[in-house]
Subunit: 186 residues, 2 copies
Amino acid sequence: MPGETTRRRGAALEADLLDAAWAELEAVGYARLTMEGVAARARTGKQVLYRRWSNRAELVIAAMRQRTGSIADRVPDTGSLRGDVLEVLRAGAGRQRQIGPDTLHGLLAEARDVDPSFFGIMRGVLRTAVERAAERGEIPTADLPRRVLTLPADLLRHEILLSREPVTEDTLEEIVDDVFLPLVHR
Amino acid sequence: MPGETTRRRGAALEADLLDAAWAELEAVGYARLTMEGVAARARTGKQVLYRRWSNRAELVIAAMRQRTGSIADRVPDTGSLRGDVLEVLRAGAGRQRQIGPDTLHGLLAEARDVDPSFFGIMRGVLRTAVERAAERGEIPTADLPRRVLTLPADLLRHEILLSREPVTEDTLEEIVDDVFLPLVHR
DNA sequence: GCCGTAAGAGACGCAACGTCTCCTAAGGAG
DNA sequence: CTCCTTAGGAGACGTTGCGTCTCTTACGGC
């Protein structure tokens, strides 16, 4: 096999490393993911990993970024606030299904600086959805208390962190219909 | 020194072990707490720990239980729903201050079965508070959607898990005044 | 075609794990 | 009071993964 002496470099190698990290994550889970395991899977040495990321958490976060591009920036537009918010939550729940609660718990415990943009992304999207609903006259005002605006995202996150089971569609609807919409309609 | 040959046993020893675990937790934090460290602090061997708890998480949970008795069962009665709920949240926030987010994150990541009673305690207390408010005629009905009832506790928990800073009184008031009470009043 | 950079490979010392073994104090049974 | 079972105290042991380090060698820009 000719690939035998081929030595990967730069971006190509980095992509392979992140792929290997992701594969290892799926294979053994975050708790038992080791730098040596990832290195072995990528058929390289640990040093190559440490040259780029200084610990498990950083490596895994990088791998996740590569895999699950940014959710944000794509504001849904279903015509109703309810539909928009549900859509945002579905996107968040979907991302959770990809990542899994164990990884989230692990990162929370190990990452010194969980980049807020990692958990706080949904806020801007929700603000836009609410503003558009107000413009349509669907709700009285877009001027909500900060905590109300982040409420759907916060509750979803809470659910993800504590449930260990994938979040169901029913749960998302409860969040929207029992909590968020009643607060906004007035 | 005569204490030198005294060998502790049973419950007395167990209490010493849990004290040592708690002290170690305060001294080095959950991330760097080790079984060997706890054993050394308790002036005994690891085996004595492993005979009782099969890992860090179990040991620490036991230590916490001994230290911070049960919050529940003591339903505040301030005369107003607002006061009662705030009081419950303050108790929860206080417990957090004792324990610290790092320990919580660690347990979440390591404990296979985070006993729901550990995180879900506040629910029953809130139910009682709401029922009494309804009896007083302060609110129209005590028949709230499940998710609304657990809302204050859920939001506090979310805050605790993601903020890393102690939860402030302001935050508690936001939860109650901007989110919970508006939902209940109607 | 030369040469600096970084990949590939693995040895190293260290810290904790969880298991084990050995000895001996404690304290109940008779 | 003595015997005997139980469990505490102490530490050795093999293992795993960490993070660092060293060495050789391929790559690819100049």
